[in-house]
């Protein structure tokens, strides 16, 4: 059992606290009386992963062992999480590779020749060959790329209808998955809400289905449409899931102190912190990117569960819930969050994704309930630099420039802009042949932030770019004091403040 999370009340003795702001790490003094929400310490990782995976595959939950499910001559599809889950180690093989190698060894022994591996990307970009090699390792890559190893394509003609949602929307799923005898889904999760829907099919649907089910104009609840596709997809494909939970943050020797409680910092931690502060002042912003994560060696694996998805998913969720702060007494008037820029393989934050990541913390954060009351103020630390990845974010550029400057209302965006973006053949071309996110991706990111925007009275970004914040309907402040001054109109001069310590629970993007 790891050390549980706790709530610290700031007083005169409290040292300055670590706050992430994009590529910077700040040390901020919070006003007296503010509460600091520390997440529980990470559970110790499993040391013998190999043995643990073998055990999980041989003793699955509510299912026969995987070796028995794999039949000679059967059609098997392995579906794995894309880069919405981090690469779990900088030096050792990724956890997905470790699990999939086990699965394939069993498949080879059982006499399975027809194997295909598909990255469950949803509407996110295709994985580059380098990404695939990083995620699955050279062995799997060399054995299957490019014909039997690729990313899901939501615009491909090769999608088949497996049912209809309540409102009659056809649910189209990747044809290879539907025609398989066995679908083996390998999933990673770092926190509740991060493991995604119980059905893997949500990440393998067509753009048409995803659009119809996620649009704010549609009445249908997106998740319930996939309820019948959790354990089986279509007529014959049975799903076998392997859920792996990770420690919430990478564990590295040099920067581990950033997630420690500041009162407990050792002399070494203080020296390292001073070093990071000094380096931040000297280095240009691109070079600062990796400072806070420079020696994150990797994520530890805390549990491996395999079996029938409808049985495994609740168990994984319950396990992950242990890693969260249990109780928030009463929601505060003002909540503070720091947002770091991720430095992983193939990750990049633009202002829209940064905002939706931050706002996602309101409902899916470290606490079970929102830490800020309805009508309260959220203060985020992020520069929101209007920079877009030239390869990954072409649709975001136009979404930011055209759509958001016209309106920030999801319903209006859906009615006026979504159709045009979805039908644009250039975006489709970039999505299918280059490595761009789908044109609907920025819309879905914005829709996912909408409930939080609705819940909050004011949203202020400390250090935020003026142009970006204005366009998205937020406010920018230079310092925390300025931000609190701006918030005082709605929450009064002595509001209750909660700072959620550490990085957001997931640097994942919407699917």
């Amino acid at each position: 059992m790891s050390r549980p999370g706790f709530v610290l009340s700031v007083d005169a003795q409290t040292p300055p606290l670590v706050v992430f702001q994009g590529e910077k790490v700040l040390l901020e003094r919070l006003p007296s009386g503010a509460s600091v929400l520390y997440p529980p310490d990470a559970l110790p990782g499993i040391h013998q992963l190999d043995a643990e995976v073998a055990h999980a595959l041989a003793n699955p939950v509510d299912s026969e062992p995987l070796a028995a499910l794999l039949q000679r001559g059967s059609r098997v599809t392995v579906v794995f999480d894309d880069l919405s889950q981090p690469i779990t180690s900088r030096t050792a093989p990724d956890v997905r590779q470790r699990v999939i190698e086990h699965v394939l060894e069993l498949a080879a022994a059982a006499g399975v020749d027809d194997v295909e591996l598909i990255a469950a990307t949803g509407l996110r970009r295709r994985l580059t060959p380098y990404d695939l090699q990083r995620v699955l390792g050279e062995r799997v890559f060399a054995s299957f790329f490019p014909d039997q190893l690729h990313s899901h394509d939501a615009e491909d003609g090769n999608l088949v209808e497996v049912g209809k949602a309540a409102d009659g929307t056809p649910i189209e799923i990747n044809a290879r998955v539907v025609s398989s005898d066995l679908v083996i889904s390998v999933r990673l999760a770092t926190a509740v809400g991060n493991e995604g829907a119980p059905a893997v099919a949500t990440k393998l649907a067509s753009a048409r289905t995803a659009r119809a089910l996620t649009s704010p104009l549609a009445a249908a609840a997106g998740a319930s449409a996939f309820e019948s596709l959790v354990d089986t997809i279509g007529d014959k494909a049975t799903v076998f899931t392997i859920d792996v939970t990770l420690t919430p943050e990478p564990t590295g020797p040099a920067t581990a102190f950033l997630s420690k409680r500041e009162r407990e910092w050792s002399i070494t931690d203080r020296v390292l912190s001073a070093g990071i502060q000094a380096a931040t002042k000297v280095l240009p912003s691109r070079a600062r990117l990796g400072l806070s994560q420079v020696s994150g060696v990797g994520f530890g694996v805390t549990s491996v569960l395999a079996g029938k998805p409808s049985s495994v998913h609740p168990l994984t969720e319950a396990f992950l819930a242990q890693q969260q702060v249990g109780v928030v007494d009463s929601p505060a008037d003002v909540a503070l969050f720091g947002i770091p820029n991720p430095n992983g393989v193939g990750t990049a934050l633009n202002p829209v994704t940064a905002a939706s990541l931050g706002l996602g913390q309101i409902f899916n954060g470290q606490a079970a309930k929102p830490v800020v009351r309805a009508g309260g103020t959220a203060i985020f630390y992020h520069p929101l630099t209007p920079w877009f990845h030239p390869l990954y974010h072409p649709a975001y550029v136009d979404f930011f420039a055209e759509a958001l400057s016209a309106t920030t209302d999801p319903a209006v965006l859906a009615a006026d802009f979504e159709g045009r973006f979805a039908a644009d053949s250039w975006y489709r071309h970039l999505y299918q042949t280059s490595y761009a996110h789908h044109a609907l991706h920025p819309f879905h990111a914005w829709y996912s932030a909408a409930p939080a925007i609705e819940h909050l009275g004011e949203i202020i970004f400390v250090g935020g770019n003026l142009e970006s914040t204005r366009r998205m309907g937020f406010k920018a402040a230079t310092t925390l004091n300025d931000a609190l001054e701006m918030a005082s109109d709605s929450v009064g001069l002595s509001p209750s403040i909660t700072y959620v310590h550490g990085a957001p629970v997931s640097i994942s993007e919407v699917s």
Partner: protein, 242 residues
């Protein structure tokens, strides 16, 4: 010829390592059992194991020549007793278990000593396949090629021999794992696994590995050397992302 040192290996070849993660999770020590196509092997394996195991001592079953071998033999540094006590003190062993070394780099018959030592001491046996070292440093060269040739070190899953098991059965497991590594170079990883499951190993791996019985295949010696020293096609870098 003297074997190149560990530091020299780092400069001279470009090692690709697979399966090292199996070892980092286990406490050790280990008995590594490897094929022995080249003089590069021992320093190469100890180089890639740096930071994973504490100390590796290499021993060859095939008779060795030279001053060092004579000194080791006269001092009795490689007797079963000294090796057992070394394992007990946490040191690991690298055994080249082939009874004699083929001059064309193929696999020859294995000595049962490695399996016996594993059964006797209860230490985990790790099969190690070395691919490309013959091409990098064939017996007639004094230094490897200058282009930092790619060599593969493939660690198999550790084998825990139960007390009282039959040495030949454990030896078969080791040979199978090493042949699987050799087949990986020919047929790809999944292809090799499938061939192993189907029992068509010899056809896939046979051309480069020979078989464990000491019969090194049907082809002539010159053909085997020709094949073993053929340039590696995969070393060319691709600049453009496809």
């Amino acid at each position: 010829m003297a074997a190149p040192s560990r530091q020299a290996v780092r400069l001279l070849v470009n090692p690709v390592v697979r399966g090292r993660e199996y070892l980092t999770e286990l406490p050790g020590p280990f008995i590594f059992v490897a094929n022995h196509p080249s003089e590069l092997d021992a320093p190469l394996v100890s180089q890639v194991l740096q930071g994973v195991v504490r100390r590796v001592v290499s021993v060859s079953a095939a008779p060795e020549t030279g001053l060092r071998a004579a000194a080791v033999k006269s001092l009795g540094l490689r007797t079963t007793r000294t090796l057992t006590s070394m394992l007990a003190h946490g040191g690991s062993l690298l055994l080249f278990a082939e009874n004699y070394r083929a001059d064309d780099g193929t696999l020859t018959e294995f000595n049962l000593g490695a399996a016996r030592l594993g059964i006797q001491t209860g230490v985990q046996i790790v099969p190690v396949t070395l691919v490309g070292t013959y091409r990098a440093l064939p017996p007639w060269r004094r230094l490897p090629e200058t282009s930092r040739p790619k060599v593969s070190v493939i660690f198999g899953r550790p084998i825990q021999a139960a007390p009282g098991s039959e040495p030949s059965a454990v030896n078969d497991q080791i040979v199978k794992a090493i042949t699987l590594g050799l087949a990986e170079a020919e047929a790809g990883w999944y292809g090799a696994l499938r061939a192993e499951a189907e029992g068509t190993f010899a056809a896939v791996a046979g051309s480069s590995a020979g078989s464990s019985t000491g019969d090194v295949g049907d082809s002539a010696r010159w053909q085997r050397i020709w094949k073993a020293t053929a340039p590696d096609k995969s070393t060319r870098r691709t600049v453009w992302v496809k």
